[in-house]
Subunit: 323 residues, 2 copies
């Protein structure tokens, strides 16, 4: 059995607890939290305060870092990578190279394996971009996200004055997806590719026109997009927008000799984004464990991992049933 620990019990941490139940070769040994352990209700896993994590050195095969990319992971990953094999879903794309270096140094110092930026983007989508470009060197990659809830954009709307709650859906524009699929290699702007739809619960008496304008003009988050704002009640929010669906598309359209069009498309339709992400983390935990057993160490990404390492099946089973 691969002995797993979870650090951080939010949506992803809870998803990992579920994921481990689907993987018969894994056992969840402990959940670690910065909160008071009694306040954390798991599905059955024992909960410890994070200060006790050092007592688990040698007792966990993989520690799943389930915190956020903004502040948790940059602090936790270098700290724990020397002590445990780790998996995380660090998703601040621009900071990945720097993050990789810091985690790599810690993991190598401790002789451990850390697989960073695991999930679906970064993660499975990254793999598709790489495979598709490698087999079609002359072409274009297109990534579309949605329809789904963006946590970062929802948070940004919640910070607007007069907003009590908000949910932001990222929606790929059908025309743009069709253009990417067409094989004509179109140039698509940010505005061409995605629409942003916001559902907002406002304070009583708030200036709705002003809230809408503030959202639509918000730099980085909304200014470069067509944005739709709906005002709804707290009851409607709870009833209609409590699920976390997501998904998206990676499309590569390329050419081979004689102008032959070759189109590769990968898509995800997820009813639960955090549960799916957690399932990807679990598969990579298996790989981290196996690579560490082979004596490897250091930071890695999904690009480094031989696909076979993710499967509980033997090489013989895979060759005879799946190749």
């Amino acid at each position: 059995m691969i002995r797993i620990g979870i650090l951080g019990y939010g949506n992803i941490g809870k998803g990992v607890e579920y994921a481990i139940m689907q993987n018969k070769d894994m056992a969840l040994e402990a959940v670690f939290t910065r909160r008071s352990p009694e306040s954390v209700q798991t599905l059955g896993a024992k909960v410890y305060h994070v200060d006790e994590i050092k007592n688990f050195a040698g007792k966990l095969d993989v520690l799943m870092l389930c915190g956020g990319s903004a502040t948790d992971l940059p602090e936790q990953a270098p700290q724990y990578a020397a002590m445990f094999n780790t998996i995380d879903s660090f998703d601040t794309h621009a900071k990945i190279p720097e993050y990789f270096k810091v985690v790599d140094a810690a993991a190598k110092a401790g002789g451990k394996v850390s697989i960073i930026s695991v999930g679906w983007d970064p993660g499975l989508f990254s793999l598709q971009r790489l495979y598709a470009e490698a087999v079609l060197p002359e072409g274009e990659n297109y990534t579309f996200w949605g329809k789904g809830v963006s946590q970062g954009h929802s948070d940004a709307v919640r910070r607007v004055e007069g907003v009590l709650d908000a949910r932001q859906y990222t929606i790929p524009k059908e025309d743009a997806v069709a253009a990417a699929r067409s094989g004509k290699n179109p140039q698509l702007t940010t505005r061409d590719k995605h629409l942003r739809e916001c559902f907002v619960v406002a304070e009583e008496g708030a200036d709705l026109a002003k809230i809408e304008k503030t959202i639509k003009e918000m730099p980085n988050y909304f200014a470069d997009y067509d944005t739709i704002v709906h005002f709804i009640t707290a009851e409607e929010m709870k009833k209609e927008h409590s699920e976390m669906p997501h998904g998206g598309f990676v499309i590569r359209s390329g050419k081979t000799a004689g102008d032959k069009q070759q189109v590769i498309e990968y898509s995800l339709k997820l009813e639960s984004n955090p549960q799916f992400t957690a399932n990807v983390l679990a598969a990579y935990a298996r790989a981290a464990y196996r690579l560490a057993e082979k004596g490897e160490s250091g930071a890695m990404s999904v690009f480094d991992i031989p696909p076979m390492m993710l499967s509980p099946k033997t090489k013989e089973e895979l060759l005879s049933t799946m190749l």
Copy 2:
């Protein structure tokens, strides 16, 4: 530069010559043929009789075995795997485990790397089946092929008495694809999944009704399918059916906690099947070369190859632009 040789100059061999032109780190050193070298017209590569191949030991980094799975590869792969790093597209699924063993022994004896069964199925589709099952352990995989020309089925029709030429298209049934996508994990029979459409040029005066009946009742190839037969002229065949498009879908529908549906779909739409297959072979040639440089040896499949090995980009480039 990665020095490549091609053995066998049919559709795939020619596709590999094109593919190498798209990969700036590869150079085509030689094409080997069993025919008279003067009779083979390449796009520029030098052509040698296969008997001269032994003179190229040490002068090629990878030999691309571009023969057929029925008789060429089972003979050639064990013969050349001890002398060169090789790539092949062996696609007789049922015989892969046995083929793997024989090639593995030869490659290990020679200290070379042989990546077998490369292409899109087996190949990229196999990878998708593995990744999807690893991240969604509770679910079903569905593979659909087409719309596209099946060489094996076309050949089978050509062997029917009274048939001069034939082209068989494998067509996925839309209802079945939709059912697989629905997330309801339907059980689909062979007949449910694909339709077979044949275009046949018959001899003058042939018994068309008898040809049609013979095709439709042919065991293994057609008896388990709904099959449509059209009789056309040789001119129509040349004009309408000389291209080799193909493609297909790998769909996995799975569940996570609370019965949440998660659907992964991968699809290819190929205007030229052999050119695309050849491009996949070229990317894996890069991996074979790199693995051999690292001192590895033996037979491998796409399941063994770290994705990064396929890309001409550096690790730093991949982390900063593609992860």
